[in-house]
């Protein structure tokens, strides 16, 4: 059964900003990823799901309830991490979590302790003095605190170090196993692929494709930066027929889409002195969807 349903959701913030006819469904117990570069409309879609924005057209529903008009009922069993978390200046971390409990008229002492331990957070200090990572942890804990059935997470791991990102992935996997429904947005595929079964790709407010993360991984275009013993050798490698992204002197950047085997097999035939995989943007990794004439579906 679909827990989260967007149906032709449209919100215009001027030319090409906003979301346009966005439709997708997230099933019960599913983790759905939502990727797109900054400004693609991820946060706009999520704000509609939270009932913070009025759609120009279309609807969005969670568990059959309208996100805008029945927000309070939906929120009884929903947890949210905003893209930019705002706290109350005057509070300490503990006070903030206590406020989150009070405003939900509940007490979640055990869960709170577990989450604080999991994210290794000392919440006794003033929020104003906390680092970005600590604030992010506090935001995550407050979203999972009341053990909600639906979680809406906007860029949940921003500011977390790799260890804490791994803890987060672990937590999401556990929650999924317990039947929770999750919608997670991100501007990097790496962040999503470990947790989400299905991924929607957003471009300029429109959904250009929905794929399983395995399919996306296979369709991913990887760029490798190679260094050779001589300029000659770099030229010789170029003749192997891989897609050249850039060649400058002894350095050659090649792009490989899908199967890596042919590329790996070619490497020992050449005097390679350096191999590097630079971090890629979403547009680079999924040029197929983000190219000028992307009309995949």
């Amino acid at each position: 059964m679909a827990e989260i349903v967007l149906d032709r959701l449209t919100k215009r913030f001027g030319e090409n900003k906003g979301v346009f006819g966005l439709s997708f469904e997230v099933g019960s117990g599913e983790a759905f990823g939502f990727i797109g570069p900054n400004g693609a409309g991820k946060t706009t879609a999520i704000r509609h799901l939270m009932g913070f924005l009025n759609p120009d057209a279309g609807t969005c529903q969670i568990r059959g309830m309208d996100c805008r008009t029945q927000a309070a009922s939906i929120h009884r069993d929903l947890g949210y991490v905003p893209g930019e978390i705002g706290f109350f200046d005057e509070m300490r971390g503990e006070e903030y979590l206590r406020f989150c409990e009070r405003i939900r008229k509940g007490s979640f002492a055990r869960r709170k302790r577990d989450l604080l331990e999991r994210f290794e957070l000392d919440a006794s200090g003033r929020i104003k003095k906390m680092s970005k990572g600590m604030k992010q942890k506090l935001g995550l804990i407050s979203a999972f605190l009341h053990d909600p059935g639906v979680l809406v997470l906007d860029e949940p791991t921003s500011g977390l170090d790799p260890l804490m990102q791994a803890r987060f992935v672990e937590l999401v996997r556990e929650e999924k196993k317990r039947g929770k429904t999750l919608l997670i947005s991100s501007h990097s595929f790496e962040e999503i692929e470990k947790t989400c079964g299905r991924v929607g790709i957003l471009k300029e407010g429109r959904l250009v494709a929905v794929r399983s993360s395995e399919e996306l991984d296979a369709a991913r275009r990887r760029v490798f930066s190679l260094t050779f013993a001589s300029e000659r050798a770099a030229e010789a490698f170029e003749a192997e027929g891989f897609e050249t992204v850039l060649r400058s002197g002894r350095r050659l950047d090649v792009a490989v889409t899908g199967e890596l085997a042919p590329f790996l097999a070619a490497l020992p035939r050449h005097p390679v002195t350096g191999l590097d995989a630079p971090r890629q943007t979403l547009e680079e990794a999924f040029m197929r969807f983000y190219g000028e004439r992307a009309n995949d579906e």
Partner: protein
């Protein structure tokens, strides 16, 4: 109403409310100390400073009043009691809604199972409580101090009417601040309108009193609903009081309504 949110407001803002009440009580005692029942010569004293008469009139210091109620109505409720509370609750109104939306902390409240109407209603009730607290603290200070310094000289019914009028005036003006705080999602515009408009009203109110030529300006400001001397003297004020109460409640309701309807960047 959300009790958790109300208590959170109280913890965050009680210092501001207490400090404002303290300063107001201090002003009151200074003004009261200037009263001299034998020789109400404050006009003469001010004249000796060679201040231009229109300036005195602008502050309401132009009437020869002998009895204590009239003195207070003119020298405290004519200007200080109008302007000072306004500054503190204009600031507070902005913090209660617009600042929380701008900062994003409103998301903590609205992601809970609480409707927007309930949220805005709670903030409105809190603001009204603060306004009432300020006026009430002045009323009590006045009753106690006047009794201590000038026993028997204060006409209590008139003084209470004076304060009731001030309460209704501030209910109306704080409603305006609250409305703009709910309407705008940034503190810049919320403060500019929420405090700018009332300050403009005060200036018009002062200008209107400087002379007959500008007297018509009084119809442009809601302060003309609160002529302190009329309230103190027991003239019929029911219409004005009812107008202030009604517009105050209307502005608060309008604030809750726009907050319910608007797009929130959270």
């Amino acid at each position: 109403m959300s009790k958790a949110l109300f208590l959170k407001n109280l913890r965050a803002h009680w210092k501001l409310a207490a400090a404002s009440a303290g300063v107001l009580a201090l002003y009151f005692s200074v003004i009261l100390g200037m009263y001299n029942p034998e020789n109400p010569g404050i006009i003469g004293m001010l004249a000796s400073y060679k201040l231009p008469p229109f300036l005195l009139a602008a502050f309401g210091f132009d009437r020869v009043v002998t009895e204590l109620n009239g003195f207070l109505a003119s020298f405290f409720y004519g200007m200080l009691m109008l302007a000072f509370p306004l500054v503190s609750y204009a600031f507070l109104a902005n913090r209660l809604v617009a600042a929380l939306v701008e900062k994003g902390s409103m998301a903590t409240v609205l992601q809970a199972p609480i409707t927007r109407v309930k949220t805005a209603f709670t903030q409105g009730v809190f603001l009204i409580c603060c306004v009432a607290f300020l006026v009430l603290s002045v009323t009590l200070t006045g009753l106690l101090l006047a009794q201590a310094l000038f026993p028997g000289l204060l006409g209590v019914p008139g003084f209470l009417r004076l304060n009731l009028g001030a309460l209704l005036l501030h209910l109306m003006l704080s409603g305006l601040c609250f409305f703009f705080s709910c309407l705008f999602s940034d503190t810049r515009r919320s403060l500019a309108w929420g405090s700018g408009l009332p300050i403009l009203f005060i200036l018009l109110h002062m200008l209107a009193k400087t002379g007959p030529g500008l007297h018509a300006l009084r119809f442009l400001t809601p302060f003309s609903l609160y002529e302190a001397m009329d309230y103190a003297a027991g003239k019929p004020i029911l219409t004005q009081a009812a107008a202030m109460l009604a517009s105050g409640l209307l502005l608060y309701a309008a604030g809750v309504w726009v907050f319910h309807r608007k797009d929130l960047p959270l």
